[in-house]
């Protein structure tokens, strides 16, 4: 397997709502910026276009009809991956390594502000026979079950979950893509009523609209376009169980993320402790406990120890391994299938030294880990590096 380069990124949105623009307008804006960033002409230089979205998020059956034009993929090899943007990146990786493509563009978007019945759409992803009929009140109860099981297994105290929320929401204040950033103290979180036990509203990420485009290229052609290269050293993805078989899920764990990390680390030839390998991590935090669980499943922290390092300040912006310097999803929001790509963009900008006010000093290697959210058990992990910032 040869290395694959990320040669351009572009984004539009990261706002609670975007009434000024049609979803395709958003896609055009983000892709135009990515192509300008990569210095490519999409109509000449890009071999394959990958779009990431799901029908019911779009409110259109067969929504991939609307994929090609805004991203420059009309009458070209274009297809959709119904999943998180990082899964699209995995396809790009394979397309380039198979020799079929030299340059691949991956776009993902989400416009949750236009979905008026978001909880019902989540319910529609539940198994129609044995889960949907249950009066569970809120589709995110599944995450509550995982949070409880995780805390019970590892002895992680409630305060640690709250600390994740206050860390990430405050951290996001320096990030222009973080509409839900706020100066929130540990006490604020702990005093708030539970929204989904054992988490308060501060600990549950909200939604925002965005489109994100990433341009990838083979090692040989990447330099033709740009010298601001970030390497995709590894990519892994995995599904633990189907949504029709949540009974088989290992509660309080996220085995799909562990498997995805093992796959990505093997590809990136990471041996020894991953915590010393990375200079920053952008990991899943759509629920506060998920940040801690993600750090354990990606083997950044030993099992059950993430909260200890968190409390010691190890994951702070100025700590030895800044975790979610962007503010994470708790500050940026969830952009449906664009969530993983949004975090990838953050990592790319960090590794290029272009993260502005929230630049992590000397960032050279980054971990990105995303989960598709309730009720899925699918995760993806990317390992990035660059020499730009050394």
């Amino acid at each position: 397997m040869s290395r694959v380069a990320i040669i351009g990124v572009g984004w539009y949105g990261f706002k609670p709502s975007t009434p000024e623009v049609h979803f395709q307008g958003m896609m055009f804006e983000s892709s135009s910026r990515a192509y300008a960033d990569a210095n490519v002409d999409p109509r000449k230089d890009v071999d394959v276009f990958v779009d990431c979205q799901e029908d019911m998020w779009e409110g259109i059956a067969i929504a991939d009809e609307f994929a090609p034009e805004p991203i420059g993929g009309a009458l070209r090899p274009t297809f959709t991956v119904a999943g998180d943007g990082l899964l699209g990146v995995a396809h790009a990786y394979m397309l380039i390594n198979s020799g079929l493509a030299n340059v691949v563009a991956v776009e993902a978007h989400g416009k949750p502000s236009e979905i008026k019945t978001l909880n019902d759409i989540y319910y529609f992803a539940f198994d129609p026979l044995h889960l949907r009929p249950l009066p569970t009140g809120n589709p995110f109860f599944l995450a509550g079950l995982d949070a409880q099981a995780y805390m019970a297994r590892t002895g992680t105290p409630r305060e640690s979950l709250a600390l994740v929320a206050s860390k990430n929401r405050s951290q996001g204040l320096l990030n222009e893509r973080a509409p839900y950033a706020a100066r929130i103290t540990l006490d604020d979180v702990l005093r708030a009523p539970y929204a989904i036990y054992p988490m308060s509203e501060y600990e549950i990420s909200r939604f925002s609209d965005a489109s994100v485009t990433v341009v990838l290229a083979s090692e040989e052609v990447a330099r033709k376009f740009t010298d601001r290269i970030v390497w995709l050293d590894g990519i892994g993805f995995n599904t633990e169980v189907g949504t029709g078989a949540v009974e088989l899920h290992q509660w309080g764990r996220m085995p799909s993320m562990r498997q995805a990390a093992l796959m990505a680390y093997k590809m990136a030839r990471i041996e020894g402790s991953p915590s010393r390998y990375f200079s920053l991590a952008e990991v899943e935090d759509r629920f506060s406990f998920m940040e801690l669980l993600a750090l354990e499943e990606t083997m950044i922290a030993p099992e059950g120890q993430a909260h200890v390092s968190l409390e010691a300040g190890d994951y702070d912006f100025n700590g030895p391994l800044p975790v979610n310097p962007s503010g994470g999803s708790l500050a940026m929001g969830i952009q449906l299938e664009a969530t993983g790509l949004g975090r990838l963009v953050e990592a790319v900008l960090q590794l290029r030294g272009e993260a502005g006010q929230h630049q992590v000093k000397g960032a050279r290697r980054a971990l990105v880990a995303s989960w598709r959210g309730v009720p899925s058990y699918t995760s993806a992990v990317a390992v990035l590096s660059s020499e730009v910032n050394s």
């Binding site: 975007t18 009434p19 000024e20 623009v21 049609h22 979803f23 395709q24 307008g25 055009f28 892709s31 135009s32 192509y35 002409d41 999409p42 109509r43 019911m56 409110g59 090609p68 034009e69 805004p70 420059g72 009309a74 009458l75 236009e114 979905i115 008026k116 019945t117 019902d120 759409i121 319910y123 529609f124 129609p128 026979l129 949907r132 009929p133």
Partner: protein, 175 residues
């Protein structure tokens, strides 16, 4: 070696509806779509009795319906142009069923109109055009001469227009 039997169990409608545990579920799926600046302006044009197109600054194509960007050049579109509300029938069909597949009492003629927009070759693969109803006799519509027939938009009276594609009632034969 060929497979003689494939797995799967077929049910009759009666069997299916008498299955224990048949779960009924309708998604509560509601959306509010932003039309975006381009289609909003196009709809406003319809309200004023105009069909508006948009020109690509690079390749010169005039797009109707208008777009935000050119799919061939991947650049934002610039000028707005009012285009004629006349054209030729590219294709036409007669529908005997509704959106829910119920029989219609009165069959309906719908089709694609190749609008008289300059810049496209006469019989080119691409053209500016609209999908709409065609006000004509269904039996006439089935005749060969319908394809290529000249048509013109029949507008609703100004006070009834709402800024919708339905501000054009239909296209009707002329001449």
């Amino acid at each position: 070696m060929s497979v003689q039997k494939f797995p799967g169990t077929k049910l009759s409608a009666k069997e299916m509806y008498s299955l224990p545990g048949l779960v009924e579920s309708s998604p509560q799926a509601k959306y509010e779509f932003s039309a975006g600046p381009t289609i909003s302006r196009f709809l406003k044009g319809l309200k004023e009795g105009k069909i508006l197109g948009r020109r690509c600054p690079r390749c010169g194509r005039i797009y109707v319906p208008p777009r935000d960007y050119c799919e061939f050049c991947h650049v934002p579109l610039a000028d707005w142009v009012e285009v004629p509300d006349t054209g030729r029938v590219e294709t036409a069909v007669v529908s005997y069923i509704s959106v829910k597949r119920e029989r219609l009492e009165k069959p309906e003629v719908v089709g694609v109109i190749r609008l008289d927009v300059p810049g496209y070759p006469e019989d080119g693969y691409e053209f500016a055009g609209l999908f709409h109803r065609i006000c004509m006799d269904p039996e006439e519509a089935k005749k060969d001469k319908t394809i290529g027939m000249k048509v013109k938009a029949r507008w609703r009276p100004p006070e009834q227009r709402t800024g919708s594609i339905l501000d054009i009632e239909c296209f009707e034969p002329v001449g």
